[in-house]
Symmetry: C2
Subunit: 296 residues, 2 copies
Amino acid sequence: MVIGAVEAGGTKFVCGIGNEHGTIEDKISFPTGHPDETVPRVIEYFKDKSVDAIGIGSFGPIDVTPESPTYGFVTTTPKPGWAQYDLLGILRREFPVPFGWDTDVNAAALGEAKWGAAQGLSSCLYYTVGTGIGIGVYSEGRTVHGLVHPEGGHTLVRRHPDDDFDGICPYHGDCLEGMAAGPALQARWGAKGHELPENHAAWEIESFYLAQSISNAVLLLSPEKVILGGGVMQQSQLFPLIREGVRRNLNGYVQSGVITDDIGSYIVPPGLGQQAGLCGALALGVEAWKNQTSSV
Amino acid sequence: MVIGAVEAGGTKFVCGIGNEHGTIEDKISFPTGHPDETVPRVIEYFKDKSVDAIGIGSFGPIDVTPESPTYGFVTTTPKPGWAQYDLLGILRREFPVPFGWDTDVNAAALGEAKWGAAQGLSSCLYYTVGTGIGIGVYSEGRTVHGLVHPEGGHTLVRRHPDDDFDGICPYHGDCLEGMAAGPALQARWGAKGHELPENHAAWEIESFYLAQSISNAVLLLSPEKVILGGGVMQQSQLFPLIREGVRRNLNGYVQSGVITDDIGSYIVPPGLGQQAGLCGALALGVEAWKNQTSSV
């Protein structure tokens, strides 16, 4: 079986093929331009691959409601050409195979649950902390949707006592993304995250916001694993600070040995490393293929 | 078919019987005392009812992990006699029928999704705002569990600019429950909620915290309905304040007509009114009965 995978990111697209065991066998990557330029490259890649199904994990917001007339569209992005763009529909017309379709972070959460850090568990959260902050939610063995889809990067946060930064989210100012995504780090400190030393005050403040968001998500959803990926999380000194912050915030209330005694195994980097996004798209493709098979 | 329902609350127990359409046909209620006194009354009630299944929605924390040796226990409550108490096991030994078991708020969310304000939807949140604050989570057609179960009442909140109240949560001080549950209202204002006039400053502050929690939960989970029950929510002047607060917090970011144009139909009181908890337990019983039937 050959499953296609598309990690449709706001900065770059990654296309690949793989199998039902999570192995990526081939991939290419190119920058995200106008869809008239980018989507033909996706089509070109899969043209001779004889895929049995394709999974797409996309930047958003996207329409994930199957009954909606705009199901499969990228909806309100400011990215030129992509607003109200029928990404799924265009690819479906080219390739008459089952398609899986979800947000990039939900896909990554699913991939981690199938083959990564949350393997065998029925729930996890997948954070990406980079240009923006996204939180994929996998719960009771499925990715979560509802009115639209999770957008947890924009939750409101309590301010760090030493932080007077205004925040840069155009919608909410000092929400989580406005205070802790890569561009917020850069705006606050005048340097990119990877240019700041490991012991810079930036990391204590950064971990404060991420730990707060994770604590609240753990209380609301009780995930069995919290996975932190994305460019900012390449600063591995953040992990112990975040874990300590979560423990401090919860203060023994969530009585689970994993949190009280073994939080190092609970809040972790992606098991699939840099391939979490592409493997997630692959997992969506595998699910689409299985669903079609089981409904025949 | 006769389904038993137990709403096992921290203050009172309600036992009833009903059918698979959500109709309660009989019920009794008594205060929650020591289990040696309370549980025999539950057993006595069901003894001659010939129930086909029983659902229990319980105060917590409780163990909801089927593989756990303490599945069915109330775990770490300070309530005398109830800590590490095998509530489900004791009732199971008396009645050899299928049992459903979940938190009181998850049960209420399920009941509302079956027969109440979220009927026909695949997701909703159920808040109870009373002696404590609990948030039941129903998502993708099922109640949510994971490491333990949702405990969203204890999420951290941003402080209201005019509020210098310390908060009364023994674990977190000024978390949502510490700032906005009934006892916090009383400690802050020196009077119970129902004794304060409708235009008292208490309500603007109360709605601030609840709207913040709802906004964050909507961002993280995208529920199709948010249902607010419990004693404090009997103050119906809170609803318009909360809805306006949520709209203000989200600031157009979640692009769904329900939120931008019709939030009055999105944030609502329980469709099952005061019976949300008992109907929720009934729904758990119906599910247990169906699961047994389908696995035979």
